[in-house]
Amino acid sequence: MKSITVRYFAMFREHAGIAEETLSIDAATAHDVFEHTRERHGSAEPNGHCKVAINDQMADWDSPVSDGDTVLLFPPVAGG
C-alpha cells in the first residue's frame, strides 16, 4: 500500500466534493490512482482527454507512483 495525496481540479473537485485527500491504496501507476478515485467518487469521466501531474510535473497515465507522491488529476482542459 502507498500513501498518495490526490488533488482534484474543476469538475473533478466539484464531483468529489473535496479539493484534496490522502489515500492509502495499492497503485502502481497514475492510471491506477485515477481508476481508484473514479470508483471512490462514482465519476463517469474517462481518462482519455484528462491529464495528470505527479509532484507538480506533467506525467503520463503509465507513469509510476511512489509512496508519498502527490497526484494531480486534471479534467479536460479548456483554456482560451
Binding site: F9, A10, M11, S43, A44, E45, P46, G48, H49, K51, A53, D56, M58, L72, F74, P75, P76, V77, A78, G79, G80
Partner: protein, 145 residues
C-alpha cells in the same frame, strides 16, 4: 513570459511591453467571452487554472514556438475567475523581425495553450445551468461542449 491574472487584461500595456527596436512586426490574439456555445445562451464564464503548471507548461510552449518561428519577444496572459461577456480571457502577443514569424508563433502559442495548459472553463447559461467545457460526461448529457 506566461502569467495568470485575476484582474482585467490591459492589452495596450502588454503590447507596449513587447517593444523591441529590432521588431518589424507584431501580432496578437485576444480570446473574448462569447454569448453562445453549442446552442446555449452563455451569460458569463468562469475560468480556473492551476498556476504552477500553467506557467511551467506555458513557458515550454513559448520556447517551442521560438524554436520553430524565431521571434524576438512573446508574452501570454490568461485570466481566471468570473468573466462577463466581451471581456478578454486570454492574450498572446509576439514581436518579430518580420510578420511571418509573428503570425505563425502567435497561432502556435494560442493553439497549444488551449489543449495543454491546466485551465478550465465553466459556462454559466441564461437558464441558470452551468457546465464545464470539454467535459465528456457533460457532453453526453448535452450540457456543454
Amino acid at each position: 513570459m506566461v502569467e495568470v491574472t485575476e484582474t482585467p487584461i490591459d492589452t495596450a500595456d502588454l503590447q507596449r511591453s513587447l517593444t523591441n527596436p529590432a521588431a518589424g512586426g507584431y501580432c496578437a490574439f485576444e480570446g473574448w467571452v462569447r454569448n453562445e456555445n453549442e446552442g446555449h445562451v452563455v451569460k458569463r464564464l468562469e475560468y480556473e487554472a492551476y498556476e504552477p503548471l500553467v506557467i511551467a507548461e506555458g513557458e515550454k510552449v513559448l520556447a517551442e514556438a521560438k524554436e520553430r518561428f524565431p521571434y524576438l519577444e512573446a508574452r501570454c496572459v490568461h485570466r481566471v475567475g468570473l468573466l462577463e461577456l466581451g471581456e478578454c480571457a486570454v492574450w498572446v502577443g509576439v514581436a518579430s523581425a518580420h510578420r511571418d514569424e509573428a503570425f505563425k508563433a502567435c497561432r502556435y502559442i494560442i493553439d497549444q495553450i488551449k489543449v495543454r495548459l491546466p485551465i478550465w472553463k465553466k459556462e454559466h447559461y441564461a437558464n441558470g445551468d452551468s457546465g464545464w467545457v470539454n467535459c465528456e460526461r457533460c457532453a453526453a448529457h448535452g450540457i456543454a461542449d
